[in-house]
Amino acid sequence: MIKGVRNIFKNGVFQDNPVFRQILGICSALAVTNLLINSFAMSLGLIFVTSFSSLTVSLLRNYTPGHIRMMVQTLIISAYVIIVDIVLKAYFPAMSSALGPYVGLIITNCIIMGRCEAFAQNNKPLASFLDGVASGIGYMFVLMAIALFREFLGFGTFFGFAVVGDWWTNWIFMIMPPGAFFMLGILIWVANTYVPAKEENTGGAQ
């Protein structure tokens, strides 16, 4: 059991990392990574939605007719995303407006649907829940890595605290869209070079 849990985490965070290995869910990975704090909030939201929707899908897996399962999964995911949205609006209104439409776009984040289809559909509830958490952490890991560089180079700050002196010139480029594309491209390059892949995967979502 313990070994199984360890495997789920190892796969979710490193070997099958949803972002740089499976190229899933990168819309939001690119959009919110200009600040660490935004990425952190987004990742927490995603971990919550992935884990609980995997749990729910797994609990309902024997009662869901095969041909409408996509629709059922989408509705389950939307319900959890609405919870995240309402909580953000109520307690963190500034964060809610900073993330804008990207909170709602968690619904179409392919990671969640992917985990529901690939894992929760055929596994027990607890294992599915942990798998959701692991994929979410893998996603968080990549987001924080990108945001760390983008925030540092773009604003000279770390979680909003200035870490360099006045001599630092902000790279405005890093907080604009192209900076995000370059950072993710470089990260995928580094990951493909140093994290051993189980099998060749040239990338191709959906």
């Binding site: 819309c27 995303v81 949205d85 619904i107 649907m113 869209p177 594309f181 990951a191």
Partner: protein
């Protein structure tokens, strides 16, 4: 919010491009951009669905959700509208325009989970667009998405035999190219901007 719909149309194609400025619809953008022909097919389907769903979602939000204070249900309602619209379009063109169905058919199911579609509907709620502005935004975003994916496919076809470092092949180099394209599109930002 008093922007000329024409301005929104131009801006959403060039300066506020769905992919290059808002990162929406990346999954299929990377996966399907290997050939110009398929990219063009997907682009057409996205434009068509975007135009339809932006209008329908605007009407539903303004006349059904807002008057009854049900704004928080918009995620579920929008995604159901999109799924239903895609299904309907698939059935209609299969019945009446079979040639179009053969060229677009395989792309239609993919579109339900394309974040650009849901993204446009969410943006037009946040930015409080009117009906005409929503229509312009829908069409423009679709055309902009098509432009970006076709351009990317053209570049990818050219570099097919280029000696790309091993770890960078596939998704990595595609993202770098997209970054360069985004950089080029930023050059147009002086023309029009919308927020």
């Amino acid at each position: 919010m008093d922007i000329n719909p024409m301005t929104i149309l131009i801006a959403s194609i060039f300066t506020n491009n769905m992919i290059l400025a808002n990162f929406l619809g990346m999954c299929s953008f990377i996966a399907v951009s290997k050939e110009i022909k398929t990219s063009l097919g997907l682009g057409q389907a996205v434009t068509f669905v975007l135009t339809g769903t932006s209008i329908i979602n605007y009407l539903i939000y303004t006349y059904l959700l807002e008057p009854y204070g049900l704004e928080y249900l918009r995620f579920i309602v929008f995604i159901i509208t999109i799924a239903a619209f895609v299904q309907l379009v698939e059935m209609i063109i299969e019945r009446y325009v079979p040639t179009l169905y053969y060229s677009l058919g395989i792309f239609l199911p993919l579109i339900t989970v394309n974040c650009a579609i849901l993204g446009v509907s969410l943006f037009l709620v946040i930015r409080e667009y009117t009906l005409l502005q929503s229509l312009a935004f829908g069409i423009g975003s679709g055309l902009g998405w098509t432009l970006a994916i076709v351009a990317l496919a053209a570049i990818r076809q050219k570099i097919k035999n280029a000696p790309v470092p091993k770890g960078l092949q596939g998704a990595g180099v595609t993202l770098i190219i997209t970054g360069l394209m985004a950089l080029a599109f930023i050059g147009l930002s002086g023309v029009v901007t919308i927020q």
